[in-house]
Amino acid sequence: MQHFVQYVLDGLSIGSVYALVALGLVVVYRGTGQINFAQGEMALLSTLGAWWFHDKGLPLLLAIAVAAALAFVGGALIEVGLMRPAEKRSAFAPVVIAIGLFQGLNSLSGLLFPRAGQGLPFPSLFPNKPTDFWKEFGVVVRIERVGVLVVVLVITALLFALFQKTKIGLAMRTVANNPTSAKLVGVPTGKILMFSWAVAALIGAIGGALKAGIDTNVSIGSMFSVFLLSSAAATLGGLDSPGGAVIGGLSLGVIESLVGNYPESWPGSDWIGIETRTAVAFLIILVVLLVRPAGLFGSVKVERV
C-alpha cells in the first residue's frame, strides 16, 4: 500500500508539468480551435531566457518572472503579427505557421544559446538536494515535487478566477463559445485572442522553468516529448476545458508511474519495455476518446447541416 501511495505521488509530480503545458494548449485552443505545435518550443526559448537572466546575476525567481513577462509579450506578438493575418488567408495557414514556429524557435534557441544542445545547468525554485524530503509512514515526499504541484494548482486556480470572475474572462469564454456571435455582440475578439496567446506563452514559460528545475538542466531537446505528452493530456481532458487539462495531465503522470512500476500486469510489456507506460497511457486515452470523443470534460460541438 505504501508503495502504491508512493507511485501515485511520483506520478502526480511528473504529471504536474504535463498539466501546465496542457493548460497553455487549452487556452489557445479555446480561442482559435488550433493546437499550438510551437507551445513546447516557445516554452524552451523562454526557459533559456530565464537561464540567461539568472546567469547574468538575477535571482532565479526574478529571472523566471522576467522571462515569463517577455514570453507574455512574445505570445501576443505572435498572435498579432503571424496568426491573425495568416488566418484570414487560408484555413491551413495557422497550422503551417505553428509548425514553422516549432522549427524556427527550436533553431533560434540553438543559434542564441549554442551550448544549450549539450544542456545548461538549471537550478530548481525549490530545495532539491538529495536530503530535501520528508518520510512519513514509509512514503517519501520530496519538497521540490510538492512545490511544483502547488505552483500548478495555484496557476489553475488563478486561471479559473480569470475565466469566471473577470470581465476579460467572460469575454474569453464568449469567444471560445462562438467567435462570430461574440464579435456581433461587441466583444473585441482580436484583443481577446491576443490575450489568450500571451497567457498561453506565460504559462508555458513557467512550465518550462519548472521542468528544467526538475531535470536540473535545459537543452534544445527538453520540450519536444513534453509537448507531445502534454497534448495527449489536453486531449484526454478535453481540449477546451482548463480543468480537464489539469486532470488529464495529472492522470497521465499517475498512469505512467503505475504502469512503469507494475510492468508485469500489462500485456505486451516484455515487447516494449518501460515505454509500455506511454503506450498504455495512450491506449487508455484512446479508450476514453472512443467513449467520449471530445475528451473527459470537453464540450461536444453540435453540427448543423
Binding site: A86, A232, T235
Partner: protein, 366 residues
C-alpha cells in the same frame, strides 16, 4: 484580358501537350549528366511527394488528419528490409505485400478514427507515431540483432534489373532507383487522381464537407472513411519502401514524427486537395531545405557569428512562414492565380439546355 479556353477544345489539348512536353524535358534535364548524389536527391524528393500524395487523399479529400503516416512508411520499409534479407523475398514482390499490409493496418486504425474528429484524431495518430520507434527497436533487437549482431536492418539493397543493362554499383543503382521512383510517383499520382474522380472520390469529398449531409445522401460513412484510410496508408507504405530501397539501411529512427510533420508541410505548401499540389510542395520543400543546408552556413551577410549551426533550419522555418503569406493556397493556388490572368478554362457549353438534356448531360459526365 485573360484568354478563354474551351474545356476539351483544341487549345486546351495544345496546352496539355505543352505541359507534357515540359514535364518530359524536365525529367530529361534531371537525368542527363546528373551525378549519383543529385539523382539521389530527386529520389528522396519523390519519396516525400508520394507521402504527401497519400496524406492528401486522407486529409485533403476526406478531411481526416493523420500525424501517424510516418509509421506506415516505417512498416513498409521494415517489411522490405526484413523480407528481402531473411526470406529472400523479391523487392518488388515485397512492395506489393507491404502495400497490402499497410492497407489492412490502415483500415484497422481507420476504425477508431470513425468516432474521432480533428485534433482528437490527430492525437491518436500521433500516439502511433510516438510508440512506433520503440516497437521497431524491439523488433530489431529480437529479430535482427539476435541473428546478425547488428543494430539495423542491412543488406537488402536493390540491384538494377538485368534487362536494364545497368550494373550493381553506386552510379547505376542511383539511376535505376530514380526511374523506379519516377514510375512509383506516376502510379501513385494516377491512383489518387482516378480515385478522386470516381464515385468513391465524390463520396470522400462529400464526407469531408459534411458527414451528416453525406450520410443522408446515401454515402456509407464507415466504409468510405476506413477505405480511404487504408488506401492512404498503402500509398504511404510505397513512400517508405522507396526511402528504404534508396538508403539500404534502416532502423527505428528512420521514420519518426518529424517525418510526418514533413509530409504535412509538403502537402500544405503545395496545395491541399489539389492533385498536383503534393508533388509540387514536396519538391519545393525538399530543395529549399537542401539549398539552405548547403549555402546558408556560408552566407557572410547574416548578422553575428552563426557558424555551421542551425542557421539553415532556422531560415527554413522563416521561409515556410513567409510562404504562407505569399501563397496561402499553396504553390498550386499561386500558379492558378497567375494562370487565370493569362487563360481561363471554360466548360463546354451544353447545346440543349432543357432540364432533361442537362440532367442527361450530368449523368453522362459521371
Amino acid at each position: 484580358m485573360a484568354i478563354k479556353v474551351r474545356s476539351g477544345g483544341t487549345v486546351h489539348w495544345i496546352i496539355r501537350a505543352a505541359v507534357a512536353v515540359v514535364l518530359v524535358l524536365l525529367v530529361w534535364q534531371m537525368v542527363s549528366g546528373a551525378s549519383p548524389s543529385s539523382l539521389g536527391k530527386y529520389t528522396d524528393a519523390m519519396a516525400l511527394a508520394i507521402a504527401a500524395l497519400s496524406l492528401n487523399l486522407l486529409f485533403g479529400f476526406n478531411g481526416q488528419i493523420s500525424i501517424g503516416h510516418s509509421t506506415f512508411a516505417g512498416i513498409a520499409a521494415f517489411f522490405l528490409g526484413y523480407s528481402v534479407r531473411f526470406w529472400d523475398n523479391k523487392p518488388f514482390v515485397s512492395l506489393l505485400e507491404a502495400c497490402v499490409l499497410c492497407f489492412v493496418i490502415g483500415m484497422m486504425i481507420g476504425l477508431p478514427a470513425l468516432r474521432l474528429k480533428g485534433p482528437y484524431l490527430a492525437l491518436v495518430t500521433l500516439a502511433i507515431a510516438y510508440v512506433w520507434p520503440t516497437v521497431a527497436a524491439q523488433f530489431i533487437d529480437r529479430k535482427v540483432t539476435a541473428v546478425t549482431g547488428e543494430s539495423a536492418l542491412t543488406k537488402f539493397r536493390i540491384n538494377p534489373a538485368t534487362w536494364t543493362g545497368l550494373k550493381a554499383n553506386r552510379e547505376d543503382r542511383a539511376l535505376y532507383l530514380f526511374w523506379v521512383a519516377l514510375a512509383l510517383t506516376a502510379i501513385c499520382y494516377v491512383v489518387v487522381r482516378n480515385l478522386r474522380k470516381s464515385r468513391v472520390g465524390r463520396s470522400m469529398v462529400a464526407v469531408r464537407d459534411n458527414e451528416t449531409a453525406a450520410a443522408v445522401m446515401g454515402v456509407n460513412l464507415a466504409r468510405t472513411k476506413t477505405l480511404t484510410f487504408g488506401v492512404s496508408a498503402a500509398i504511404a507504405g510505397v513512400s517508405g519502401w522507396l526511402t528504404a530501397a534508396k538508403i539500404g539501411t534502416i532502423d527505428e529512427n528512420s521514420f519518426t514524427i518529424l517525418n510526418s510533420i514533413k509530409y504535412i508541410l509538403a502537402l500544405i505548401l503545395g496545395g491541399v486537395a489539389t492533385l498536383t499540389g503534393p508533388i509540387a510542395g514536396a519538391f519545393a520543400y525538399f530543395f529549399a531545405d537542401d539549398y539552405l543546408k548547403e549555402h546558408a552556413p556560408n552566407w557572410d551577410w547574416l548578422p553575428g557569428k552563426f557558424g555551421d549551426g542551425p542557421i539553415a533550419s532556422f531560415l527554413l522555418g522563416v521561409l515556410v512562414i513567409a510562404f504562407v503569406f505569399v501563397a496561402p493556397q499553396g504553390l498550386v493556388g499561386l500558379f492558378r492565380k497567375i494562370g487565370r490572368k493569362i487563360a481561363v478554362i471554360v466548360p463546354e457549353p451544353i447545346p440543349d439546355s432543357t432540364p432533361e438534356a442537362v440532367h442527361q448531360a450530368i449523368h453522362e459526365g459521371e
